[in-house]
Amino acid sequence: MARESVVPPQAAAQPATTARPQGTGKKRLVYPGFTVPFILLVLCFAAWGSAANLTDVLVGVFRHIFTMSNFQSSLVQFAYYGAYFSLAIPAAVINRRYGYKTGVLTGLGLATLGGLVFLPASRLLAFVPFLLALFVLAAGLSILETSANPFAIAMGPEESATQRLNLAQAFNPVGANIGVLLGAVLILPNLTPEPAKLVMTHQQLRDSQEHDLNLVLGPYLGIAAVLALIWVLIALRGRATPAERSQETGDAKGGVLGRLWRNPHYRFGVAAQFFNVGAQVCVWSFTIQYATDVVGVPTRHAGWYLQASLLLFLVARFAMTYLLGIFRPTLLLFLLAALGVGLAVIAMVSLNMVGLIAVVGISLSLSLMFPTIYGVSLQGLGEDTKFGAAGLVMAILGGALMPPIMGKVMDQAGTATAFIVPAICLGFVALYALFDLRTRRHAGPLVAEGAH
């Protein structure tokens, strides 16, 4: 997944221990012979981070190339997150039936194919083929992610599972930053200037469109090449793990759904996660548009503000990990969600650099939300935890549905006003935190959400 590498239900319940194998003084991270496969797997985490956050840049880029509305260009995220949502269950089926290695290879293969579909898409000079390419790419990445997390867990002793997973997932935000960097350096500065198009002949316009689409093509072909390479190497070196420990969630036992539905912390938690992911994708998808359309930052420089958002997100993540040890998680969640609402409102009313800084600052408030909502929602679910986690993962649908809504508002009421959408989303998250703070319940241990 793009923003939040979602650990599947199986991994979520892993104990956070890094025990040493009996009889040795040294922690073993992976089984003997699994060092190279593990490194390759780590590359996968970085690769999907890159691909995912490059789509944030694409929302603005496609609007520019095809001279389309914000709503239309936001369909990029609909295709991407829609694929993630749609493929989550099939991916789990593949893993259960054929094993994680097959899952990883299937995901890599499909994602590579998606990257390659960019090639004919760029020749057709049409938007829909690009959406198709993105859908296929994201479908592959969805399978890859669903398989890679438990694959990483299965590559070594159970005692070091969390450490292994944390290490692997640490490369996801690195990849995410590389993805935005690719867009900021290779695509945005080289796009045909918008005023230049006003005086072009029909043929010149087609040529400029072809030139600009080739800019998009480059990074995706690069990603496809890297994914293909990893596919080959994993096929050759990646062994099936000695024991792909059965971590089936099991069939939905009678009553699980009912129990989860009757649990307001869980029910509202899924909704809060939906709005959190929605807010995150909205803010990152339209940061570049805010910079160019509201503040007047030149397109060639606008990508750096998105880059700053991601770096802030990354740094704040570490800081929040520390603060979560001091404060009650939902208190921090409430404060940061309220901060996010405040920053979104500033973005709506300060139509200048202050507003843009506020937009970048929203990433600070987003930084702790996914893991905190994840943990709080699953707290005390007991044997329903694994099944419940699946529902939280499916909340990624917010990333597919909210950007088109924000795009529509942008088209009707302006770019700055449209930040009412993430403001409402974050407001819901704040309400969820408040609900938890004001409710007495059994204080079970928080469920860790992998690397976050």
């Binding site: 918008e194 005023p195 006003l198 390479l229 050759l236 160019t292 359309d293 007047g296």
Partner: protein
């Protein structure tokens, strides 16, 4: 796959990764185009402080960087400083520029210096402002001011119909016989569907395109005719002046249709976006500079010489579109404004 081969390939993995990644990078670098021969081109603007000319110069420099062009630049000390422009033409010709772009500060007085440069083999393109006569230069790259005026005239007419009001038009012009001002004025009349003698025009005044004079002129016109509900302004500084006078007279933004020409960033953000200026026709100095540098560089490299007039584009920008009049939103205006 045989086990031995599998093992060998496996051992090669790190090396294979490195080689393949290097290949990807090399492919990327290889796709960079071949560098063209460097040529020298000059740009002479009216002055270095006006955002319009600054945008033009910045774009020329960026285009020159991209196209391996050595760009010589010069500017006058004011919008009417012909002497500095003549000196710059001579200096650039001596420095080996085979193509020069100029924004004439004095359309007639600059002509002898241009003719001298052309006799020395220099191709001269006028940007933004035409020379008199037009044929004194090889080409003119400029906004179609008649079209700019027509766009805001059509918009004002559509708004008047939408509001259902009887138009009482005030014309805040530039100055007598200044081509760009005359063309904008005539374009507005054409777009609105009236002439200078039409009864809808209740007053007019020259503003020199300045805020203070615009405000003063508007105040006087309102004193003569408080019912003015359509205001044409030749540029945005004059429009801001008119808006101040209208506000001082207690007139609501919504009751008056105020239109202008230029598309500067300040006007788009603080005039059009909040609705103080209802619509403006945005021009693109960056197109003048980009097209000028590219055309002159092409010509120096053996391509065709630039000839005739090239329209550098104009778009109607408004936060409140009028039915039947094509326009772009404020976001577009902010993205592409100058200054």
């Amino acid at each position: 796959m045989p086990q031995t081969l599998r093992r060998r390939l496996g051992r090669l993995s790190p090396r294979l990764v490195a080689v393949s990644l290097a290949g990807v990078v090399a492919l990327g670098l290889g796709s960079c185009g071949k560098q063209q021969d460097q040529v020298t081109v000059g740009l002479i603007v009216k002055r270095n402080t006006n955002p319009f000319w600054v945008t033009m110069k910045d774009t020329a420099e960026q285009t020159a960087d991209d196209d391996n062009v050595k760009l010589l630049t010069a500017a006058g000390t004011s919008d009417i400083d012909n002497r500095s422009q003549v000196a710059a033409l001579q200096k650039m010709t001596a420095q080996g520029a085979k193509g020069i772009m100029i924004t004439p500060a004095n359309s007639r007085a600059i002509v002898p210096a241009i003719e001298k440069a052309r006799r020395a083999g220099v191709t001269v393109v006028a940007l933004d402002t035409p020379t008199q006569p037009l044929t004194a230069v090889d080409a003119l790259y400029a906004t179609n001011n008649l079209e700019a005026g027509e766009l805001i005239g059509r918009y004002a007419k559509a708004k008047v119909q939408q509001l259902g009001i009887e138009p009482r038009v005030a014309m805040l012009d530039l100055a007598p016989r200044i081509t760009s001002g005359v063309l904008r004025h005539n374009g507005f009349l054409r777009g609105f569907g009236i002439t200078d003698r039409s009864p809808q025009i209740v007053g007019s005044a020259y503003t020199l395109g300045e805020t203070a004079r615009g405000e003063d002129a508007m105040r006087r016109l309102l004193a003569q005719n408080p019912g003015i509900n359509v205001v044409y302004t030749v540029n945005e500084p004059a429009a801001f002046g008119a808006a101040q006078a209208l506000k001082a007279a207690g007139r609501d933004d919504k009751d008056v249709v105020l239109v202008s020409v230029d598309g500067g960033c300040d006007a788009i953000k603080n005039g059009v976006r909040p609705g103080v200026i209802d619509a403006t026709a945005q021009q693109y100095p960056e197109n003048m500079a980009r097209l000028g540098v590219q055309a002159l560089a092409d010509a120096e490299r053996g391509g065709p010489k630039p000839r005739g007039y090239k329209n550098t584009g104009v778009e109607l920008i408004t936060a409140d579109p009028a039915k039947g009049v094509p326009s772009k939103d404020v976001g577009f205006g902010v993205r592409n404004c100058w200054g």
